[in-house]
């Protein structure tokens, strides 16, 4: 997929260079060439397999954005903490899958179940020992603490494993690809998109449509009152942090066979994820899911149309959204 994108870029650039060269040396020839070829200039020819390939890459990235920003939304809602350690915990998910395979012989499917639990338990440990002390303080303290935690965790992993990636194989059941006629769809990537969508929908359903979810939403609004109704809110907050972090761990396992398992894999992703959270609206569950998938696709489309902008398009969208809706697309103005 990436190779295809690069070739496409080289091709466009090559064509442009050739045209400029011709224009500078033989103007008349250039004019003739432009007249003859304008209708079929490469920019206007739709290369469907490249387009759908980029859309698929976008959907995959969108799956990770959605899973990560969903966890951030749950955590921000209940803890009022902007969890900068989320990227590091995502990375720990990928490493956890790697260790489970190489140290304990637990394969992909086992890791898919165990990793969210293990990473979630680590999150609960962080919440109990550190984060809960910041409960009534300004956002800034939580941000600084989790940012520091992220640097420490990433630093430790870099120290022991270097910056280059460790391989993690696609499980044999999910190797291969489907020929859809207009493109090849690798089975593993389809699985990532489908599983992420299911997990996101299930989380949305649990929070918006069940009585447990009603308790969570109420505790987001007024934790003191929910507690005065007899609910152990601090325990609920701890579990919610564990759950949000568990989602990051799950995303890490899903990412392991696609990206390599690298200490900085989360740091690269998390900046975009925070843009997603801001666009969707801080703390909005639906907002984080929809925006996550949508921005992945927008990024993919940009890679097809104008690759140079693909790294910035998310932030351009963020700036535009904030100008029109400062609370984000799905956020409530406070």
């Amino acid at each position: 997929m990436w190779g295809k994108r690069l070739n496409f870029r080289v091709w466009i650039r090559g064509a442009a260079l050739t045209r400029r060269f011709l224009a500078e040396t033989t103007p008349s020839l250039a004019l003739r060439e432009r007249a003859a070829h304008q209708p079929s200039l490469p920019m206007f020819a739709i290369n469907t397999s490249a387009l759908f390939g980029q859309l698929l890459v976008g959907l995959i990235n969108g799956s990770f954005y959605a899973l990560l920003s969903l966890g951030l939304a749950v955590i921000f809602g209940l803890l009022n903490i902007i969890n900068f350690a989320h990227g590091a915990l995502f990375m720990m998910g990928a490493f956890c899958a790697y260790f489970l395979l190489n140290l304990a012989g637990v394969g992909y499917w086992g890791a898919l179940v165990l990793t969210p639990v293990i990473v979630g338990a680590f999150g609960i440990f962080l919440e109990r020992t550190m984060l809960h002390r910041l409960a009534n303080l300004d956002h800034l303290y939580g941000l600084l603490l989790t940012f520091g935690l992220a640097l420490i965790i990433q630093g430790l992993f870099q120290n022991y494993f270097g910056s280059s990636g460790l391989p993690y194989a696609i499980p044999p059941e999910l190797t291969g690809a489907q020929n859809l006629g207009f493109m090849f769809l690798p089975n593993y990537r389809a699985w990532v998109v489908v599983l992420s969508a299911i997990v996101c929908f299930a989380t949305w359903f649990a929070i918006e449509k069940t009585s447990l979810g009603a308790l969570l939403r109420a505790a987001t609004e007024n934790p003191a009152l929910v507690r005065a109704f007899g609910v152990n809110v601090p325990r609920m907050i701890t579990l919610a942090y564990g759950f949000g972090v568990g989602l990051a761990g799950l995303a890490g396992v899903l990412a392991a066979p696609i990206n390599q398992v690298r200490p900085l894999m989360g740091a690269d992703l998390i900046i975009v994820v925070f843009a997603v959270v801001v666009i969707g609206g801080m703390g909005s569950i639906l907002g984080s899911i929809v925006t996550g998938f949508a921005l992945g696709v927008i990024e993919g489309l940009t890679k097809y149309i104008y690759p140079e902008a693909s790294n910035t398009v998310v932030f351009v969208v963020m700036a535009l959204v904030l100008m029109v809706k400062p609370a984000g697309l799905f956020g409530r103005a406070s």
């Binding site: 009585s211 009603a214 308790l215 939403r217 109420a218 987001t220 609004e221 007024n222 003191a224 009152l225 929910v226 507690r227 005065a228 109704f229 007899g230 609910v231 152990n232 809110v233």
Partner: protein, 235 residues
């Protein structure tokens, strides 16, 4: 104090941050009565309710409910002993619909009212079950805030200014409801600024000033104390 005291508050002190709000509050609530805390703004009425509920960070003294000392307990533990609060700002959750708001407080004991009898008490809520909580009128929100603490099995209901900002006809309805709740065996601790309303439902009055109870009398002694009361409340 009385033998049948359900709630016994002794020398209760409370702080918000650095400010000392309650300076030794003493009173008790008997089982099955409607007790009312009266007093001007800032006298410490709401803080007294919040301190009993454990919702104030720093408090000292003694609050005994059904023989259990609650001063060191967290508010969720206190709630599970059978105390429920209807806060002054009503605390209707905006992201929940009426049904979710109504069903939110978990059952803590048997003996709470069934949903049907709650809706008989508050027929307005029946048609609004799937409305968003904050789309209700002020009166409906107040009814919902009272309604949702009736099914949990709590026996002591603390109502903080349930008539504030409401139309007279709705105040009358809330008064009738409080009488019905008393008949069904609930004990009610009411905070009121609206003395005329309180006099229609209360059995006993506790007058607060500067974070202390400064006077106590029963409803039967009301006319004898009217002049004093006017001075206390400035009405």
């Amino acid at each position: 104090m009385s033998e049948a005291a359900l709630l016994n508050v002794k020398n209760l002190e409370a702080w918000y941050g650095e400010s000392h709000i309650l300076h030794g509050v003493d009173f008790s609530v008997r089982k099955g009565e409607v007790a009312t805390l009266l007093g001007r703004n800032g006298a410490g009425k709401t803080t007294t309710l919040k301190s009993i509920m454990g919702m104030v960070a720093k408090r000292r003294g003694s609050v005994i409910y059904e023989g259990v000392e609650t001063i060191g307990l967290s508010s969720d533990r206190i709630a599970r002993l059978g105390i429920a609060i209807c806060p002054e700002e009503r605390g209707i959750f905006a992201s929940l619909d009426v049904r979710e708001n109504l069903l939110l407080p978990p059952k803590i004991k048997s003996g709470g009212l069934a949903i049907e009898s709650i809706l008989d008490l508050f027929p307005n809520l029946r048609e609004r079950m799937s409305s968003q909580g904050t789309k209700l009128s002020g009166g409906e929100q107040q009814m919902l805030a009272i309604a949702r603490i009736l099914r949990t099995g709590a026996t002591l209901l603390m109502l903080d200014e349930p008539t504030e900002g409401l139309a007279p006809v709705i105040i009358e309805q809330i008064g009738l409801t409080i009488k019905k709740l008393k008949e069904s065996g609930f004990t009610i601790l009411l905070v009121e600024q609206n003395f005329r309303f309180a006099s229609t439902v209360a059995d006993r009055y506790f007058v607060m000033e500067h974070g202390k109870i400064i006077d106590t009398f029963a409803n039967s002694e009301l006319s004898a104390n009217m002049e004093k009361l006017h001075a206390y409340l400035g009405v």
